[in-house]
Amino acid sequence: MTLALTVALAAVLVGAIAAIAWPRPLGSILSLAGASVALAVAIFVAGYPIAAVFEAVVAAGLISLLFLFVVDLTDTATLPRGRRAAIAVLGVASAAVGIGALSMGIEVETASATTAASLWAAHPLDLLLVAVLVLVGVLGVVRLSGPGGETA
């Protein structure tokens, strides 16, 4: 395994464990989003750019958004300043690790941009599934932000 892959996979594990163990939902969301970014890097370095794009768009973006909506419905209490600072540090650290690993990954795969494009063309069903999956996530947000949410 390349160094980039090792670093990215380690970041995924740390982020996933933190997402479960973190006592407050906001920390879990940030940890999970960081883990998803790191995972996208790992998949990219492993040679599956289409899967990496999917992971970054859907897992890091869409699911984190859904996550936020669900947490928002539960009317979570405001966190103390120390906790907020710790969460911010974790979020920034996760992003830094992800971006750092991403930059290493891009060095590895820079020459294969054409390959990435052809992969999209060779995965028509996957492309369709990702498009509808994004729609499904949007429908989830539509539902969770629909009538009835204010009274939860």
Partner: protein, 483 residues
């Protein structure tokens, strides 16, 4: 390679159904148009899968040489079971997903689309897309009743645990991608690789969260009890057991130096024990049925585990797959029946056995379906829940002491489950009831009748299900080792 474009019809019909159903439900004044579209897309997927089951299997490529879908016994089996359960849920308890945003029915279709995609996926990445489709849809379906705080809290717990599970699952798939064998299910190989153990554990844990494998089952009681009835049917009958199928498909291409079988058997026996004990501790009907799903995951796990330990025990794999189908039929029948009973007496998710006491004579179809379904879930012969367990026990017989442990665990778990299933039957028929009760709609009566007939007929004549399970078992049984 096969040449028939029908191969992509099941998935494409459902994906198109999601889009069109949402547009009709959101922008048409008449909700029947959306319901009809959803039903039509499910019917098309079902019929296409039946047609594919009668033809030759193999990979189909829409463009170029790369497989778009893999038509196999497993694909056609899930392609029939998924839409069939979807029809039972959407026709029988469709009102549960009627909301002003119009998203409910489309989300339910997305669950079925995910299940069908898992069946037809030609590689682990496409399988993961199907799994994620299923997962994202249920993230919104579990906390669907957002004006009830209990549902929202259940939804939060479900989303947190399952989102992390999904991340761990694709982590395992990413590790598999680095191996010589790659991600393909069309021409799978299992080259020995150092990442094997970590990949195997990641796949078991990642898919195990959605599959409610003990100790990753914490979300089950609240999510099943608080979700709308139709969503609970889809979760219990499809999403949970199919997550185990997805796990098995991926474990099949994990590098061969990993003792996956023993891990699955241990997890399966733990799931039987803990699930049964949890079910005993529940006070509401829906929560009892919810917790009783965990032992059924255990049966499937030990069947697949026995197949892996035997390095190709196809009888145990057939038993596991047959039980996936049986579980879908039984759980669909049980939860639709509960929806009918609770709807008739105007009770909510917190209804207890006392609330449904005596309804057996007032609502014979709903009560009868629930009674037969729980007896089948307990494994009473000759109902449909019996045969999968029998095949799992027979398939484990050549494993020596481990096989004996599996057999004792399966039989003991079945007897143990009678302790919480029989009180449901007794409550329904023990005492007369003179309450005013509503009449279930014709749609829910039709769904109940279909489920009841399936539980009894597939039980009495199991060869149809066994043949289908035999055709699909290869897709979840272990591969040979590539040196």
């Amino acid at each position: 390679m096969i040449a028939t474009p029908i191969a992509v019809v099941p998935i494409v019909a459902l994906l198109a159904g999601i889009v069109v159903t949402y547009l009709l439900d959101a922008y048409s004044a008449d909700r029947r148009a959306g319901a009809a579209t959803a039903g039509l897309s499910l019917a098309i997927a079902l019929v296409a899968s039946v047609a594919l089951a009668t033809g030759e299997g193999g990979a189909y490529s829409a463009f170029g040489d790369r497989p778009t879908v893999l038509v196999s016994g497993l694909g056609t089996l899930l392609g029939v079971v998924g839409p069939a359960v979807g029809l039972i849920a959407l026709v029988g308890v469709r009102d549960a997903l009627d909301d002003p945003t119009g998203a409910g029915r489309a989300l339910a279709l997305a669950v079925v689309a995910g299940v069908v995609t898992i069946g037809y996926a030609p590689d682990a990445f496409t399988l993961y897309l199907g799994f994620e489709m299923l997962a994202v849809a249920t993230y919104a379906l579990v906390p669907y009743a957002i004006d009830r705080s209990a549902a929202v809290v259940a939804g939060r717990q479900y989303v947190v645990l399952n989102a992390v599970g999904s991340a761990i699952a694709i982590f395992g798939i990413a590790l598999l991608a680095t191996t010589e064998g790659g991600l393909s299910f069309v021409d799978p190989t299992r080259a020995v690789a150092s990442v094997g153990p970590l990949a195997a554990v990641s796949l078991v844990v990642g898919f195990g969260v959605k599959g409610a494998v003990v100790p990753l089952h914490a979300w089950v009681p609240d999510a099943y009890a608080e979700a709308p009835h139709a969503a609970t049917v889809l979760l219990a009958a499809l999403a949970t057991p199919v997550a185990i199928v997805a796990m098995a498909r991926c474990l099949r291409i994990v590098p061969a130096d990993v003792p996956v079988g023993a891990l699955l058997i241990a997890a399966g026996i733990g799931s039987m024990l803990v699930g049964n004990l949890l079910a005993y501790g529940q006070s509401t009907v829906r929560r009892v049925l919810a917790c009783s799903s965990i032992p059924h995951v255990g049966y499937v796990l030990v069947g697949i585990g026995a197949a892996f330990v035997a390095s190709g025990g196809s009888v145990a794999a057939r038993g596991a797959l047959f039980h996936v189908v049986a579980n879908a039929i039984m759980k669909a029948g049980a939860f639709v029946a509960v929806a009918a009973l609770l709807g008739a007496i105007g009770a909510g998710a917190d209804a207890t056995l006392d609330d449904i006491a005596g309804l057996g004579r007032r609502l014979p179809l709903a009560a009868g379906t629930l009674a037969v379904a729980v007896l089948a879930l307990a494994g009473v012969p000759p109902l449909v829940g019996f045969w999968g367990k029998l095949l799992i026990v027979i398939g484990s017989a050549n494993l020596g002491a481990l096989g004996a442990v599996v057999a004792i665990a399966v039989v003991a778990s079945s007897f143990l489950s009678l302790g919480y299933y029989l009180p449901i039957v007794r409550a329904l028929y023990a005492s007369p009831d003179d309450r005013e009760v509503g009449t279930p709609s014709r749609a829910i009566a039709a769904s109940l009748a279909v489920a009841l007939v399936a539980i009894v007929v597939v039980g009495i004549a199991p060869m149809v299900g066994l043949d289908a399970a035999s055709a699909g078992a290869d897709a979840i049984a272990p591969l040979g080792v590539m040196p």
